[in-house]
């Protein structure tokens, strides 16, 4: 019990004094996962909208693949990204294995199907006739797509949160492709794993609390928006 109590006490101390190492790790985590989420939004929303609105052979298979991708195990993603970026792998010439860029790539691979799947569902739940109504109002195809995205904005917000939540808390891929290099590619989750294995519970708990707080704030924002948008 003492161990936990001491750990929590020290953890709060690290947090309220803005310990430079803890803060550095947190900012790096936010930067990497934020970038990965942003890229996955660009790819996921555009592809999701296209798949939702178009008819092509194999569409059902594509949708089931996207849905499967929503649950990609980070370790598997880590494995494949490592192989791709390995020095004599197909993309080895970039020399980016064990860099923050590699983590961004791996996290993008994890978040994109999540964003894509939720986008797909969000667009498909809109009434089909809404598209006809928008076109009948004189919209171009591009205007129609934009209006549909705006109509689905609440669910798309959920996509942002789910994507970000998925990658900020992911550890397997980050450790495999980032290498957990101190001050360079060490993020919240990889640091927590390492500190725990070393028995440095105070830092591990501090990092854990930050992760929990992030998760809490993400959900708080989401809930706030959903409640505000709900009809009175």
């Amino acid at each position: 019990m003492d161990l936990i109590f001491e750990g929590i006490k020290k953890a709060f101390w690290l947090l309220i004094t803005f310990d430079p190492e803890v803060m550095g790790i947190t900012l790096l985590s936010l930067g990497i996962s934020g970038s990965a989420t942003l890229i996955s939004l660009l790819i996921g929303i555009s592809t999701g909208v296209i798949v939702a609105l178009s008819e092509f052979p194999g569409r059902r298979i594509a949708i089931s693949l996207i849905n499967t991708g929503m649950g990609l195990p980070p370790v598997v993603v880590g494995l494949f990204v490592t192989i791709l970026l390995w020095r004599n792998g197909p993309l080895g010439f970039f020399g980016i294995l064990y860099t923050p860029t590699a983590i961004i790539i791996a996290q993008t691979v994890i978040a994109t199907p999540i964003v894509m799947g939720i986008t797909l569902a969000a667009i498909q739940q809109l009434p089909k006739k809404l598209r006809l109504q928008i076109l009948a109002l004189g919209a171009t195809r591009l205007q129609m797509v934009w209006i549909l995205i705006k109509e689905a904005k609440l669910l798309l917000l959920a996509a942002v949160m789910a994507g970000f939540g998925g990658v900020i808390s992911e550890v397997g891929a980050s450790i495999m492709v980032g290498g957990n290099i101190k001050g360079y590619s060490r993020v919240l989750t990889t640091a927590t794993v390492m500190e725990t294995s070393r028995g440095n519970f105070d830092i591990a708990i501090a990092l854990g609390i930050i992760l929990l707080l992030l998760a809490y704030f993400i959900n708080l924002i989401l809930t706030q928006i959903q409640q505000r948008e709900r009809p009175k």
């Binding site: 076109l135 919209a139 705006k150």
Partner: protein, 370 residues
């Protein structure tokens, strides 16, 4: 009684329109012409092809064969489809509003068509007032009742000042009182704005009320087109008759009023009906055949009904439980009688009978503003 359309130019012309899906022809309209300021109703049962026709006319349903001419110019060669669509507006059965305020919903079409926000406000306020939803302007569209939502949808379409308005069963998901008040307003607004409209409905009374001309559709084809009374009273075939010809529909003018009733003159005969109407007003009287009583007694005093007319039987058609008797009383009249009565009264073609119906049994369709 009708808007005078003789000088009206054709606004929309359709040639050899065909839509095929999965090897079946779901729409086949060799020709259809709509004049400026005309209101054409498409009536027919569900699945008759009304929606398909409207969506094809607005190029929302592709592909199709055939040609559409807008103001004499072929769409696609002289207009782009997109430009053409921006001269129309369409209202669907569902309101299909956007997740924003009523005001922004009414503005949405104008915004899509690239109008500046400052230029819109006059037009939007005009439509909000016209449809009686001005007080809802800032409300979220999600909180509206069915009637309010459909009013917003109509206001959004009218704000575009369309050259042709396409209405796809806009009232069918509303409850009767809401529907009635909306139809009344829409009728007034259509006349006032002199909007050309094509109106799909499965309710022939709605069609009678709103349109100049009626096209009866079934299985993707137009079976008959004509002025309202013409189609209703002279259906070209059994199919049309089974859909529209179930009641007698008479056109006449109100000549007298007394209390809650009024007298309508129809081909020189006077029929008493119940309700509100102005003297000189044109009305349609709809009489359901089961409300018409036939007797062989010539006496006028024999019944309490005010509307008693001698007539001659022109046709007797068996309809299973009933026989449909077509009479000529100076105006056409249809009655349903049981087989029993047919035998008792020995009703047959050429026989003189007395037909009577109560003033309260007449459904009056007012055609004000025409």
């Amino acid at each position: 009684m009708k808007t005078d359309l003789r000088d009206s130019k054709p606004i929309l012309e359709v040639k050899d329109l065909e839509v095929n899906r999965g090897g079946t022809m779901i729409l086949n309209v060799p020709s259809l012409l709509i004049k400026e300021r005309e209101i054409l109703s498409l009536i027919g049962p569900n699945g008759a092809g009304k929606t398909t026709l409207l969506q094809t006319l607005s190029y929302l349903l592709k592909p199709f064969q055939g040609e559409i001419y807008f103001k004499g110019e072929k769409v696609k060669s002289n207009h782009s489809v997109f430009e053409y669509r921006r001269r129309l507006a369409m209202v669907f059965q569902e309101p299909l509003l956007f997740d924003t305020t009523v005001y922004d919903n009414v503005a949405s079409g104008l915004k899509i068509r690239g109008m500046k926000r400052s230029e819109m406000s006059g037009r939007i306020t005009e439509q909000l007032d016209r449809f009686g939803i001005g007080h809802l302007s800032d409300r979220s569209a999600k909180t509206l009742s069915g009637g309010e939502a459909q009013r917003t949808s109509l206001a959004r379409a009218f704000a575009l000042r369309p050259e042709i308005l396409l209405l796809d069963e806009p009232f069918s998901s509303l409850d009767p009182p809401t529907r009635d008040s909306l139809i009344e307003d829409l009728e007034h607004i259509l006349r006032q704005t002199r909007t050309t409209a094509i109106f799909a409905t499965h309710d022939r009374l709605e069609a009678l009320r709103l349109s100049n001309r009626i096209a009866v559709m079934n299985e993707g084809r137009i079976l008959q087109t004509g002025f309202s009374g013409e189609v209703m009273n002279h259906p070209v075939n059994e199919l049309v008759a089974s859909f529209v010809g179930v009641e007698t529909i008479l056109t006449g003018k109100v000549i007298k009023k007394n209390g809650g009733t009024f007298i309508v003159s129809i081909s020189g005969q006077e029929i008493e009906a119940v309700g509100e109407a102005q003297i000189g007003e044109a009305v349609l009287l709809c009489i359901r055949p089961e409300n018409v009583i036939l007797s062989t007694r010539p006496s006028r005093e024999a019944t309490s009904a005010r509307n008693v007319f001698p007539g001659r039987i022109e046709k007797v058609i068996s309809l299973g439980l009933y026989q449909k008797v077509q009479l000529n009383c100076g105006f056409p009249l249809i009655a349903y009688v049981t087989h029993h009565s047919i035998e008792n009264l020995s009703l047959q073609v050429g026989k003189e009978v007395t037909a009577s119906f109560k003033a309260t049994a007449i459904h009056v369709v007012r055609r004000k503003g025409k």
